[in-house]
């Protein structure tokens, strides 16, 4: 039994630490002055989606501090109350109910993943709280729900940029290989749905498991159909294995990847096999390559410099979702005196907000507010990104 209790003890320690940590992060809240604006943050800070949640939490804290340093919103300081969802829908529901009922926040930012977002949408609808999700899934804002907004680019836009590029290259037939989870399924849906719009035919559609070590069988099946290009849709490490397998099989057609692998980690994992791969990415990855005239250039370099100076780590492509959300929210809070109906209305009427992830133009029909120009296509060349104009 010793090992059992040992394992139990070990799992208890982080849990206790989390409780203590939360207690500390809450206690100043109850003591603070009444005129601060409290905004809730829920991110997958730990767990499998921590590559999203961790930079999001850091970016939110940074944005809040920046706004406070500049005098807050109409003199009101902002205060972030952040909980960890661990990427788990039931923990997300608990955190949101705590934020609404106990912390009495004005608005909520996050969560990081599509399933966790969808789990809490009914709650924010009922509580009538402005809610800005940082997840990519298109279902969050489609159909439009009055209180729900999102800052991450939808996969619709990523697929559109890939297909636009393919059209220029005269690609007619493609094979797709997608990971068997929500991200891959959603990508597959969009790839199949938009193909005909661009005169592209999907000749083979294969899937793989997120932990699979070899995808040559699927790729062999795709090769049999002789497509002009292959599109892989997944997050690390699967797509790196696909890239290696494509090289091993000696497949000549171009390989497109999704924005899910748009990080230096992918180049590190795929190594030599990453050369020549094409993918859509938010502009943050190639900020220094952008033309001076690009409206996002200044915002991006401000964000990157501030983040890297504060956290001493290189910036991730995902923290920007929370950064944009805080700034959008702060803008919408101006002259509202914290009235939630008015904040929501201001958010919906926001236009031309230049953020890290793109230029936001919210409207009654569009609560994501981004256009395909939020993505750029890049090619991996000599172990680094090359912007395709």
């Amino acid at each position: 039994m010793n090992a059992c209790t040992k394992a139990l003890k070990v799992s208890l320690i982080p849990a206790l630490a989390a409780v203590v940590f939360l207690a500390f992060s809450i206690s100043p809240a109850s003591a603070s002055a009444a005129d601060t604006y409290k905004i809730g943050g829920i991110f997958a800070v730990t767990g499998p989606a921590s590559f999203l949640g961790d930079p999001e939490k850091k970016s939110m804290e940074m944005a809040v501090d920046q706004i406070n340093a500049a005098g807050g919103v109409n003199g009101h300081k902002l205060e972030a109350v952040i909980y960890d969802t661990e990427g788990d829908p039931s923990k997300t529901v608990m955190s949101v109910s705590k934020l609404i009922n106990k912390d009495n926040v004005i608005a909520i930012i996050g969560p990081s993943r599509t399933p966790t977002t969808l789990a809490v949408v009914p709650m924010v609808k009922k509580a009538r709280i402005p809610f800005i999700s940082c997840a990519a899934g298109n279902k969050i804002v489609e159909p439009v729900k009055p209180w729900v907004f999102k800052t991450a680019q939808s996969d619709i836009l990523a697929v559109a940029s890939i297909y636009q590029h393919m059209k220029k290259q005269d690609v007619k037939k493609i094979g797709i290989i997608t990971v068997g989870n929500a991200f891959g399924e959603s990508g597959k849906e969009q790839l199949l749905e938009q193909a005909s719009e661009y005169g592209i035919q999907v000749v083979s559609s294969q899937s793989f498991g997120g932990k699979d070590s070899d995808m040559t069988a699927q790729l062999t099946k795709i090769r049999k159909e002789e497509p002009d290009a292959i599109v892989c849709w997944g997050t690390n490490p699967g797509p790196a294995v696909v890239a290696k397998n494509v090289e091993q099989l000696g497949l000549e057609m171009p390989l497109y990847q999704s924005h899910g692998v748009a990080s230096p980690k992918f180049i590190e994992l795929a190594g030599k096999a990453a050369e020549g791969i094409l993918l859509p990415t938010g502009k943050i990855l190639v900020a220094d390559l952008l033309a001076e005239a690009d409206p996002q250039k200044a915002v991006l370099s401000d964000y990157i410099d501030a983040y890297e100076a504060r956290y001493k780590t290189s910036v991730s492509g995902f923290g920007g979702y929370a950064y944009d959300a805080v700034h959008l929210l702060a803008k919408a809070m101006k002259n509202t005196d914290g009235d939630q109906n008015q904040i929501r209305e201001n958010l919906e009427n926001t236009s031309g907000h230049v953020g890290v992830s793109g230029t936001f133009n919210f409207s009654e029909q569009d609560h994501n507010g981004l256009a395909p120009d939020a993505f750029v296509m890049v090619k991996i060349n000599n172990g680094t990104w090359q912007l395709i104009r």
Partner: protein, 291 residues
């Protein structure tokens, strides 16, 4: 035809991985009648130690290989000494739950040491994939098959030809009787754990260049390896080997000829059928007990 050969080659690659892990399961079961559900985690530890030694500390391939195995085998002995031997009533179910707990613990520890991201390393030899009638076989797969066969042959000789090996088998058959004839059964169990976890580490090391290694790679690998061991006949080394390759090849043929979405379903369905027809696996060793 070219496709079929390619499917079989793909199957051999993943099959060799499953086989390497299955052998570790079987080996421990053979000597202690215990199933170690933390075995996948020892594979993970082997793979990640290798990555650290070879990539970060630039230790050459062979010493890094041996060192990773030694480190993980030492951890395996520590695990036996601290959490298995100290159990008051060592009933199978209690021990199995302990190994499940250990697997969660090791996964968490792996996350703390190596972080949440995936790691990769270069193949053992930088040759281009072998080309057989247009189908490609990775040189690393050849390495895996070769090393696994070598290890299994070594274990086989150890069991059949050495006194220690026979003593170990005797402990599995009857601990009390073995004790009566003067076999130090506790040491034998400790040794069995060292061998089995070392075998797991070896599996991890050889597959590290093919799969991306991360702290959570062990669970699925352990499960597949366990299936392969069941398929071939738990307790039989050669059975595990056959079971591993069979599972890998069936999976990739399933992908190629039926559907990639049903890959795992096809493999597990076949496992059920085979176990239904031959409950003790393809090569049935001694009678398999049900818990």
């Amino acid at each position: 035809m070219q496709e079929i050969i390619q499917y079989i080659f793909s199957g051999i690659t993943s099959g060799a991985i499953y086989a390497a892990i299955a052998v570790g399961f079987s080996m421990l079961y053979n000597s202690t009648k215990l199933i170690n559900f933390a075995h996948g985690e020892f594979v993970m530890l082997g793979a990640l130690s290798m990555v650290t030694l070879n990539n970060t500390w630039q230790v050459p391939l062979l010493p890094a290989f041996l060192l990773s195995i030694a480190v993980v085998a030492a951890l395996g002995m520590l695990f036996e000494r601290l959490s298995i031997r100290t159990v008051k009533h060592p009933e199978p179910i209690v021990l199995i739950i302990i190994t499940v707990g250990a697997s969660i613990f090791l996964k968490g520890a792996g996350m703390l040491v190596w972080g949440k991201g995936a790691h990769t390393m270069a193949p053992f030899s930088g040759h281009a994939p072998l080309d057989v009638a247009g189908a490609k076989l990775l040189t690393q797969s050849v390495w895996i098959v070769f090393i696994v066969l070598l290890l299994v042959a070594g274990l086989h000789l150890f069991y059949k030809k050495t006194l220690t090996g026979k003593a170990m088998e005797a402990c599995a058959i009857s601990k009390k009787a073995a004790w009566l004839v003067g076999i130090p059964s506790k040491t034998m169990v400790l040794l069995a754990f060292a061998l089995s976890t070392g075998m797991g580490a070896a599996a991890g090391v050889v597959i590290a260049p093919i799969t991306m290694s991360s702290y959570d790679m062990g669970t699925m690998l352990g499960l597949k390896g366990f299936c392969a061991a069941m398929l071939g006949g738990l307790g039989s080394l050669w059975g595990s080997l056959i079971g591993g390759f069979l599972l890998g090849i069936l999976e990739s043929l399933g992908v190629g000829l039926i559907s990639s979405g049903l890959k795992d379903a096809i493999a597990f369905l076949l496992l059920l059928i085979i176990l239904y027809v031959r409950p003790s696996g393809i090569i049935s060793s001694a009678d398999v007990e049900r818990f």
